[in-house]
Symmetry: none
Subunit: 221 residues, 4 copies
């Protein structure tokens, strides 16, 4: 287990500070000086322990990815016996938990979010190691729900709709807090958000199945 990372107070402190600052500011805006100041470490310690800023970022990414996947297991709590609808709900809830939770286990979510907005050189790694597996779980669930005959494109679009909603509830804090000062969408509202997104998405996905008699009303013109 701990064969690779030689324990070190300074190293740990840097990882801690870097996790927080990278999560808060993103890779480009975060400065190693700030990180070291907050960690109470010398700037050169980063070179010693991680090589350079990139190495530190990569280490932080891997570290908090592990923590996140320990806290929220990779299978997203989905059991094979569940129905697709239940699986979708579980996926959304798990996804929201990962990206909305506060505290240390959520730093990975924030890091991921930053990479989503402004991809750095580390984005390719994240896509392959984290995003693709997760996205594949979702697409398979969606495919199971909307039926076999559907086109790949439709599955993709639908999956993106779901991810988009989840991510927005995470990123819209600055907007919402200004538009509706009272409203809060934090980790304590995850159940509500799960219900909401699952509801919207599920009915949206099933639209075609019911299209025969209901589509009329909506899109007849």
């Amino acid at each position: 287990m701990n064969d690779k990372k030689t324990t070190s107070k300074t190293r740990d402190a840097i990882m801690e500070a870097a996790g927080e600052i990278f999560a808060e500011e993103g890779y480009p805006k975060a400065t190693v000086r700030d990180i070291c100041r907050q960690a109470g470490a010398n700037i050169a310690a980063i070179n010693y322990h991680f090589g350079d800023k990139k190495g530190l970022y990569l280490a932080v990414l891997k570290h908090y990815q592990e923590i996140a996947f320990q806290t929220y297991p990779p299978n997203l709590g989905i059991e094979k016996t569940q129905s697709p609808e239940e699986k979708l709900r579980a996926f959304i809830r798990s996804f929201l938990l990962r990206i909305m939770d506060d505290g240390r286990p959520a730093w990975f979510g924030k890091l991921l979010a930053h990479e989503f907005m402004e991809p750095t050189w580390a984005f390719d790694i994240l896509v392959e190691e984290t995003i693709r597996p997760s996205f594949q779980i979702l697409t398979s669930i969606v495919a199971a729900i909307i039926g076999k005959g559907k086109k790949e494109r439709k599955v993709l679009l639908s999956s993106m709709s779901i991810v988009g909603q989840c991510l927005y509830f995470r990123h819209s804090h600055p907007v919402i807090s200004r538009l509706f000062p009272g409203e809060i969408f934090g980790c304590k509202q995850i159940d509500e958000l799960t219900d909401h997104i699952t509801g919207i998405s599920l009915h949206g996905l099933l639209q075609d199945k019911r299209a025969k008699h209901q589509q009329v009303k909506i899109c007849k013109r």
Copy 2:
């Protein structure tokens, strides 16, 4: 004060370049050096015409907001006689156009998008002047669709779901291009995206109206 409309070749060139670069990179990453280089202007010209980088950004914001509102009218092309469903479709299409279109009129959309994801000091201004009015149009449409008896909270959640989907289709390019190299979600697919998002959202919004006999199947557990 009256630094607004003094026509000047240099000033125009800077506005042009700044619009493009701010839209592309966002406020923090964009540098006045790049802007001036592209505008063929002296660096000090920014100080002269706009005071500083902030002043330039503000001027750019205002300028392209005007252009955007000329190209995409503030009422989003929605006519009062339309049905709520048609209005929603119009809103989504208009919103997508604004954020996905290329060329000058779309720069404001991109600027907005950047502010959405990583708010700067200019965000408060944008929220009040642009986002709030637009968001209110959406909430009123949504409220009309899901019925009067519904709670404000539900309306808000639903509106956010719609906005979230639209924004995600705009910002997911880096991910999608890596996950599914062939798939493209650009300004040429706006009709497809409009159909998709409208479809999902509309059926999602209407879930409660049909909840009596259909909710059973979905959330039976």
Copy 3:
């Protein structure tokens, strides 16, 4: 003439200081901080006027090359009517002047010398623009002296012997000043050195022509 380099006090001061310090320390050891301190300029001035340390070095190289070639003309003071022996003497004297002179016009010689010992990225430029033309003059002189039938290799070796002697008289200062504190080989001894090197080289070059009856004595065993 002065169309390119916009005159500027700071720029000139930096060129002056950089010339001295680069000549003294060589490119890698010289620091822009020292240069700016000595020039009484801000560090960022280097970025403004020359881009970066490399740009400054290149500018210094070009500038003092011009001065050196103005002071010691490119044809090395050789006239076409001179005999090869006289040309050799003129070349050696000119070469020594260039590399041993003190003061500003000699900085180029020192820069060249540093590049000779520890080539940097700028070495290729110097080889093509300065060293090759100069070396070709020498080889043609040498070829004329040792006769037409001789191999290229012999001409090359002989030319190198001459250059080697000249350079050593320039670079041996630290050694000589320690071994023989009284002896001095500076710019004031250039005539003596010219005589010496010309003598050695000329007789050395002509060895084969006299080989018939004299070589015996020397290498008979």
Copy 4:
């Protein structure tokens, strides 16, 4: 004090790596990091075994000086019974071998060469312990060749001409490889170089002896 001969694997490895790297890069450019990395040792080992970088350099200098003097005896393989001409040839050959040979015994030659061109604080030591004895051998040979009546100055100049040629053939690699890509002056051409330098120098030195009838042609003007 007695830090000289405590055998230790790490110490030996550092000496080995330091010899190679110092020989290759010279004292200022070589970094203790590189040395330790190549030696597979910890950085702090240098402090432990040698005090600091200076101490290491000094130890390396002494160590490879010993090896060099074992491989190439201090008398340069010159026997007392040889003629001055033979002695000169032997000296040149020996000198070339020392500075051009590859492999461990030649490291000292390279270290010396670096000090020659850019003297460090260690130069004084080398001058007294190595250069002076060696140079005295050369001057005595030269004195024997050009005759007793000659001035010291002439002997010095001539000796420097010889050393200068040898050193140049060692250091001109970067230039020659660019000017004449095909030509090579390495350790395999030592015999050729020895012949060449001996030839040039010998005839050069003897110029005055033949000056009566030949100087006319050369310096008639």
